[in-house]
């Protein structure tokens, strides 16, 4: 039984939540190396080297090569064959593509939940629109504040 099936039948047994589970679908750059080959890692990060991507490496989730997306606390699985010797580079390119495209679940949540103005796509895309300018706390329908508060 896959983790996706298990999530619905026995959610208490779920041990992992990958990016495609959170989003409800798989992304093209998880399956096609050519879609990430041209990513410029140096240009995508601050400073004169790859900065925070230095800590990003190819890992494994559910027996599948994967890169960890710290912005949504989830793994992003990689389904295409990864050329030998380029494991970490490919992992970094897939992750940057994921973040720049705005598909990271953490980014999707920003519009709804961020409390302070900030660029939607963070530092990964220049000129990204600002979200969080009109935050209002969610109100649970039918809930009333307890007396005395």
């Amino acid at each position: 039984m896959s983790s996706h099936d298990l999530a619905y039948t026995e959610p208490e047994k779920i041990k992992s939540l990958d990016a495609e589970f959170l989003s409800g679908h798989r992304f093209p750059y998880q399956e096609d190396l050519s879609l990430v080959e041209d990513v410029d890692l140096m240009a995508s990060t601050p400073g004169e080297d790859i900065n925070w991507l230095e800590d990003v490496a190819l890992l494994e989730e559910d027996g599948v090569p994967a890169v960890f997306d710290r912005y949504s606390n989830a793994f992003l699985k990689i389904y295409f064959p990864i050329p030998e010797g380029r494991e970490d580079e490919i992992a970094r390119k897939v992750l940057v593509t994921h973040l720049q495209s705005g598909n990271s679940y953490g980014i999707l949540l920003k519009e709804l939940h961020c409390k302070f103005p900030q660029p939607e796509l963070g530092p990964w895309v220049e000129g990204s629109r600002t979200v969080g300018t009109d935050y209002s706390p969610p109100v649970l329908e039918g809930w009333e504040k307890p007396a005395g508060h």
Binding site: K15, S16, T45, P46, G47, E48, D49, N51, W52, L53, E54, D55, L59, F68, R70, N73, F116, P117, Q118, P119, G122, P123, E126, G127, S128, T130, S136, P137, P138, V139, L140, W143, E144, K145
Partner: protein
């Protein structure tokens, strides 16, 4: 009467939070660089002016004059930009940042760059204790000395210290790299899980489960690259320290707990 969830905080007994404030709009923008004098501004209004310029005006470079050692300046900046503080900052400077390249021409207090996600911070002077605490990524260079527990709970990124570091530096370090050009105090790398600490000077004593590591070509490449990027001259000879993994029991952790340290 305020609706549910719409409580407006307007009083802070400590007189510190200044919950109601507006950006002062005093910056002068010239050739894409915004400059403003922080001498007469409060912590809150300095940060509001910074965010207004960076988020609303889309300015890519800001110079803050006379920060006068105020605490918590430059926090939570979440875009690629350049910020220059002309002077010293107090504690919790430039924490929770993701993307900016910051230059501080003076000193910083406790916990500078705590929880930094990415970016570059260069401090010309000294730093206090807890410098780079829980840092997740990016480069932090303090050209002077720093206090105790530098890089505590570091989860990524590179901390470079031009001088010496205090006791318990690298305490509970989980990932990342620390390059110390001076001496290290007692308890270096105590209870570290992972990561690498390089020390050029003497080490007063190693902490629990911190052991000398084997030098590789990757270590040489890292040291030479960082020294070149930040113009630190020729690197001295470093000793390398890593986790001995005697206390290592990750395999028994639940996957969700493992993610906390990735």
């Amino acid at each position: 009467m305020a609706a549910v969830g719409e409580r407006q905080i307007s009083y802070d007994a400590r007189g510190l939070a200044e919950p109601v404030a507006d950006a002062p709009r005093t910056a002068v923008v010239e050739d894409g660089v915004a400059t403003f004098d922080a001498r007469e501004l409060t912590t809150r209004t300095i940060n509001l002016e910074l965010r207004r310029l960076l988020y609303e005006e889309g300015v890519g470079e800001v110079v803050v004059q006379n920060p006068q050692g105020r605490h918590s300046l430059g926090v939570g900046i979440l875009r690629r930009c350049r910020i220059r503080f002309e002077g010293s900052l107090g504690y919790f400077a430039c924490g929770l940042i993701d993307g900016p390249e910051i230059h501080i021409t003076g000193r910083v207090g406790w916990s500078a760059c705590e929880n930094m996600m990415s970016g570059v911070v260069v401090v010309d002077g000294n730093g206090g204790s807890l410098t780079g605490a829980a840092m997740r990524g990016g480069d932090l260079l303090v050209k002077g000395r720093v206090g105790a527990r530098t890089g505590i709970d570091q989860k990524g990124g590179t901390i470079i210290i031009g001088g010496s570091v205090g006791s318990m530096t690298g305490f509970m370090m989980q990932r990342g790299r620390m390059i110390i050009c001076g001496d290290a105090g007692p308890g270096l790398g105590d209870s570290m899980y992972d990561g690498t600490i390089y020390v050029a000077g003497t080490v007063k004593s190693l902490g629990i489960d911190c052991v000398p590591g084997e030098w590789t070509d990757a270590d040489t490449e890292l040291i030479e690259r960082k020294f070149r990027i930040y113009g630190l001259g020729s690197p001295p000879e470093f000793q390398k320290f890593v986790c001995g993994k005697v206390l290592y029991n990750y395999d028994s952790l639940e996957p969700s707990e493992k993610k906390l340290v990735i």
